[in-house]
């Protein structure tokens, strides 16, 4: 069967899955995973996930929240990526910019309003009291962002792994998002509610397989890099560098399953801040179901 993983092949969220498939962890746990689906945009990914044979996916938390708010019947079953370790703000190599403070009076490109890059830059700059001193521009996808940066349309842009590791000779990091915002959950695992009820064991198996993948990755980052490179069809040097880069940031990036409610709240607040969702009560209890997590990963 296919599983849905957001940014499969161009983000680091898929690494545990790649390892779990390669090492047979999913099979051991009792699901035969053969491939992964991804697509443009969080909403589409959630929709694709809900339409799949196993309606499970590791998707952007923001998309999951939006979906729940609009009445999609899904349940969040595990934490995914719970830090911003793969998220940087970069300038051209020869740029004088060295830190977030240098951005005052400069132009920074984020992808689009109400997006995660909008939110992260807003929070980070607000924390540093720089928000009104920096001119923020929308630059769209990474391709056009890159072009804008190269052509001098903006002075710094958002950047994510593993693209950063590929382009690092041309770029320099101005600041790392994780340094400004230590806790923020990016992705979570979601399941269609009726499926969870009918096949809890399948979900449990997926979570278990993924967890083993995470464990292996932390224990053998280099081998993990090779595996990821095979699945992503990339140069192993790049994936290895990316994994190293992520691990070097303190804090957990790939959660073995445990939820980081603080990071989830940060995301929720951030979304409200950039007006991506209407402010209002949102109770995690109603949408999170920890019953499929291994005992050591549950909150209580």
């Amino acid at each position: 069967v296919n599983l849905t993983v957001t940014h499969w092949a161009d983000g680091m969220y898929g690494a545990p899955f790649a390892v779990a498939v390669e090492k047979g962890y999913f099979k051991e746990a009792g699901v035969d995973v053969t491939g992964f689906i991804t697509s443009q945009g969080g909403g589409t990914t959630v929709r694709n996930a809900m339409a799949s044979e196993i309606p499970y996916g590791e998707v952007a938390l923001s998309a999951a929240i939006a979906a729940v708010k609009q009445g999609v019947k899904l349940t969040i079953v595990h934490g995914g990526v719970i830090s911003l370790a793969d998220n940087f703000w970069v300038a051209m190599k020869d740029s004088p910019l060295k830190s977030i403070e240098d951005l005052a009076g400069k132009r920074v490109g984020y992808s689009s309003p109400k997006s995660v890059t909008d939110m992260v830059s807003t929070i980070a700059l607000t924390n540093r009291k720089l928000l009104d001193k920096v001119e923020r521009k929308t630059v769209g996808s990474l391709s056009s962002a890159f072009t804008a940066l190269r052509e001098g349309g903006v002075d710094a842009i958002y950047m994510t792994e593993p693209i950063y590791s590929r382009e690092k000779e041309n770029l320099k990091i101005v600041f790392r998002s994780a340094d400004e915002i230590p806790h923020m959950t990016q992705t979570v695992g979601v399941v269609r509610r009726d499926y969870l009820k009918a096949h809890p064991e399948t979900i449990k198996a997926i979570i278990e397989g993924r967890r083993k993948g995470v464990d292996y990755l932390m224990a053998h980052p280099d081998e993990g890099g090779d595996i990821l490179a095979r699945h992503y069809k990339m140069d192993p040097a790049i994936t290895k560098a990316a994994i190293q880069n992520i691990i070097s940031v303190k804090g957990t990036y790939w959660s073995p399953g445990k939820f980081d409610y603080e990071g989830m709240d940060t995301m929720l607040k951030g979304l409200e801040l950039v007006k991506a969702i209407e402010p209002g009560a949102f109770n995690w209890k109603d949408v999170v179901d920890e019953s499929q997590l291994p005992a050591d990963q549950r909150s209580q």
Binding site: Q40, A66, Q70, V72, P113, T138, G140, S143
Partner: protein
């Protein structure tokens, strides 16, 4: 002639009714079609035959559209999109017509370019976006140019089709009357190929909108397309369908206006029978 036209009163009034029907039947049928489709969709979504997460009842779409309009929260985005698409349409219509003329005039140019003209639609045109940014900078122009590029060929091809269908005897007449090349275009070729030109304009409008909105959808941070994309990704069906409804309405109205202008021009040329 009078004895034919003056039937008894009943007959003439029934004739009047049938004449009125004839005149307005297109509008009537169109209305009927639209209303019944909408009713069907309304029913289907109200009765939850269609998943409410995927689809809204049309009445809710209309309500949301109305709300958006009154609220004015997307006014700027709408103006942005309309002005970009409008600029693209104007450029593409003019450019496409000229291109069509050139191709018609210079057979060799046409033979050389012909195979490329249509195949370029096969390449997802937004891969050009980064290049356009390099050329035009980080503003609306890359999108406008995207709309222009996407639409111009449809216009050119239709112009070409139309020009080819101008009866040879009319072109010969224009030679006899010593029309200059410009006059010939304006007074003979353009009116003679008008039906095709109209089709070209209609497609140009559609393609410009598709490209501009699609571009916003994927690449930009503002405009109707972006807002639709955002609402879509956020599962905000109210806003998404509301905006789509407005868009549909807008393009629909433009098309209807064009269509009726076309009809008015046609009437003279086409046999209209009262049988």
């Amino acid at each position: 002639m009078t004895n034919v036209m003056d039937g008894d009163n009943r007959q003439s009034s029934s004739i009047a009714v049938s004449m009125a029907y004839r005149r307005h039947r297109v509008v009537l049928w169109r209305l009927l079609l639209v209303v019944s489709v909408i009713a069907l969709l309304e029913l289907a979504s109200r009765l939850s035959w269609i998943d409410p997460v995927s689809f809204l009842p049309p009445s809710a779409m209309a309500a949301s559209a109305w709300h958006i309009l009154v609220d004015g929260m997307y006014r700027e985005d709408m103006l942005l999109t309309l002005s970009s698409a409008g600029t693209a349409v104007v450029m593409a219509v003019a450019g496409g017509f000229l291109l069509g003329l050139l191709l018609f005039r210079f057979g060799r140019l046409r033979r050389v370019l012909d195979p490329l003209l249509l195949s370029y639609y096969a390449v997802p045109i937004f891969v050009l976006y980064p290049m356009l940014i390099v050329i035009f900078g980080l503003n609306r122009w890359p999108l406008i140019v995207l709309g222009f590029l996407f639409a111009i060929v449809a216009m050119a091809v239709n112009t070409l089709n139309g020009l080819e269908r101008v009866p040879a005897v009319l072109l010969r007449t224009s030679k006899v009357l010593h029309l200059g090349p410009l006059e010939e275009v304006w007074l003979i070729k353009l009116p003679a190929s008008l039906p095709f030109i109209f089709t070209g304009i209609k497609l140009t409008i559609v393609y410009s909108f598709i490209a501009v909105i699609g571009g916003e959808f994927l690449l930009s941070g503002a405009g109707l397309g972006y807002q639709i994309a955002f609402a879509y990704n956020n599962f905000d069906n109210q806003t998404m369908y509301g905006l789509m409804f407005l868009l549909l309405l807008f393009v629909g109205v433009i098309n209807l206006l064009l269509h009726s202008a076309e009809q008015r021009l046609y009437q003279r040329r086409v046999l209209k029978e009262n049988a």
